[in-house]
């Protein structure tokens, strides 16, 4: 009876997860969807507390369980409360890593306790266990490495060395060998040793796999790791024969895959190319660029903006680094009050995670009617008086559309070069993430405004206020 009640509750919980995710996909219902999904998590946790396996728990065990939940919740609460919106990609990466490690530990703990005589077919049980461990391990160290890159603790550049692919392939092969040995080995002690090898190797593989991937490709990596953390949970569900884990984990796995594919399409690259090519590690030569970069002072920029009737902002990772979103919003409001039409054009891979720019601009109170997707803004670009590129580079590089020899040829871009005037806010004259020279910066209608983006925008705002 107890079993049945718990399982019915799990079914309810799984249904609510599905509803929650569905609602999360629409702007009007997203907040409610998140609440439903969290309620569903609570239901699943409470139901688990009545599990048959916890019947023998003494008082100390309950203290341990509730203590663990409370401690984790407190840490999670503090992280969520104090994280800056500009640090969101790091936060997501870190949480992802924790989820992955938790699944690894669940697999390990279960094998430690039940591994000698599992309740189901031992081959199936062990396959699920090693999958939870491998996927969890890769997710953990991969996410931690991504977190380091995103937070600037280690260089965001792709790290490559000769023979890297061979080394990675060797680690992956060893992973496979130890997994197969673990599953086939009848002796508990020997299998245990293989499992520990699996733990170590999967942790190494996570590091090794993310190392050659550069910062600009992080949107793909984070979505993929997100998918992995779900799959690890799902595998852990097979280990402990729990349906709600399998369903919820699998839903997350699917959503992560979809997001990764969307990100890859937005760059016109394959997942294979993103993961294994070491893109951006070397400075590509790129095509010849004619002309020179023409700088403009904020004074002159102000006069141009004053006359503009139609303005488009194109934000990129540089806006996040400079934390310029509030200043940008202020400028946008002023321009609007003067009667200009203001839009924000957002490239799908601008920033360091899917939807990064949307979150930052929402934080600055930009209404989302003003946020335009690439395909909506490109057709009207010719009517735009001023396009202001803030810390974006590759996503506005015309070479992607015009130069067949360019490594990013074929990547859909925001066609800023079609605007009557283009302002590019940039700290220096360096190349972007891809290492390519951006021909937009040399175009006839482009003016560069050097300096910190936040400073430049604030400067423009004060000029408007003075007049």
């Amino acid at each position: 009876m107890r079993e049945i009640l718990i399982n019915i509750t799990y079914i309810l919980s799984a249904c609510l997860f599905i509803f929650g995710i569905k609602m999360l996909g629409k702007a009007e219902t997203a907040k409610k969807g998140n609440l439903i999904s969290s309620a569903s998590m609570l239901i699943a946790v409470v139901a688990t507390l009545f599990d048959r396996q916890l019947l023998n728990c003494d008082f100390a065990m309950w203290v341990l369980i509730f203590g663990g939940i409370l401690a984790g919740s407190a840490i999670g609460w503090a992280m969520a409360k104090y994280v800056k919106m500009t640090s969101m990609p790091e936060m997501v990466a870190l949480l992802n890593g924790f989820g992955g490690l938790a699944s690894l530990l669940v697999g390990w703990a279960d094998f430690q306790f039940n591994g000698a005589n599992p309740a189901v077919n031992p081959y199936f049980y062990k396959t699920a266990t090693i999958l939870a461990i491998l996927i969890g391990g890769i997710t953990f160290t991969g996410s931690i490495y991504a977190w380091g890159k995103l937070s600037g603790k280690i260089s965001g550049k792709a790290k490559t060395f000769s023979g890297q692919k061979t080394v990675n392939a060797a680690i992956a092969a060893l992973c496979l060998v130890s997994s197969v040995a673990f599953v086939l080995c009848g002796n508990y002690g020997a299998a245990y040793a293989c499992m520990i090898a699996g733990v170590v190797l999967s942790l190494a593989l996570g590091f090794a796999a993310v190392m050659p991937i550069g910062g600009g490709d992080m949107p793909v990596v984070i979505s993929l790791l997100n998918s992995f953390s779900g799959l690890a949970a799902s595998a852990a569900g097979f280990v402990i024969q729990n349906n709600v884990l399998i369903v919820a984990g699998c839903l997350v796995g699917a959503s992560g895959v979809i997001l990764s594919v969307i990100m890859c399409k937005a760059m016109n690259r394959t997942l294979y190319n993103v993961l294994f090519s070491g893109f951006g590690a070397t400075t590509a030569k790129g095509g010849e660029v004619k002309g020179e970069m023409k700088a403009i002072s904020t004074d002159d920029a102000y006069y141009v903006l004053e006359a503009a009737q139609n303005v488009v902002f194109i934000p990129g990772y540089g806006m996040a680094v400079a934390q310029a979103q509030h200043a940008v919003k202020e400028l946008a409001t002023i321009l609007e009050e003067k009667g200009a039409e203001v839009r924000f054009a957002i490239h799908p891979v601008a920033g360091r995670m899917p939807g990064h720019m949307n979150v930052l601009l929402a934080e600055a109170d930009v209404p989302y009617e003003q946020l335009c997707e690439m395909q909506d803004v490109n057709p009207i670009m010719e009517n735009v008086d001023v396009a202001i590129v803030i810390g974006a580079n590759d996503v506005v590089n015309p070479a992607a559309a015009q130069d067949k020899s360019s490594p990013i040829y074929g990547m859909p871009i925001i066609e800023a070069y079609k605007a009557k005037t283009v302002f590019c806010l940039k700290r220096g004259q360096g190349a972007g993430f891809s290492g390519l020279v951006n021909s937009l910066f040399f175009a006839e209608n482009t003016r560069m405004i050097y300096g910190d983006a936040k400073g430049t925008i604030t400067d423009l705002v004060s000029k408007f206020k003075q007049s």
């Binding site: 969520a80 936060m91 924790f98 024969q241 959503s255 895959v257 997001l259 929402a362």
Partner: protein, 96 residues
Amino acid sequence: MEIILLLFIFTLAAFLGFELIAKVPSQLHTPLMSGSNAISGITIVGAIIATGGTTNDTLATVLGFAALVLASINVVGGYLVTNRMLGMFKTKKEGK
């Protein structure tokens, strides 16, 4: 049979997941990711059982406990941060 049933559920859930998320506006990509990230903390269920259901095996209990703390961080942090983000998305009508 039990095993086949579990695999069956897994496969159906995968298709369901693809259907559910195929057409999400890019606006919502980040909240969707952090929200689903929180859901992957469902492994907390396994962690609870691994902590409390492993009496007399200290190592297993310790591993379970570590998993429990990590999964709780994942769940609570993920949901709260998603909620915080979604709270910032406003339309013009709702005002400032």
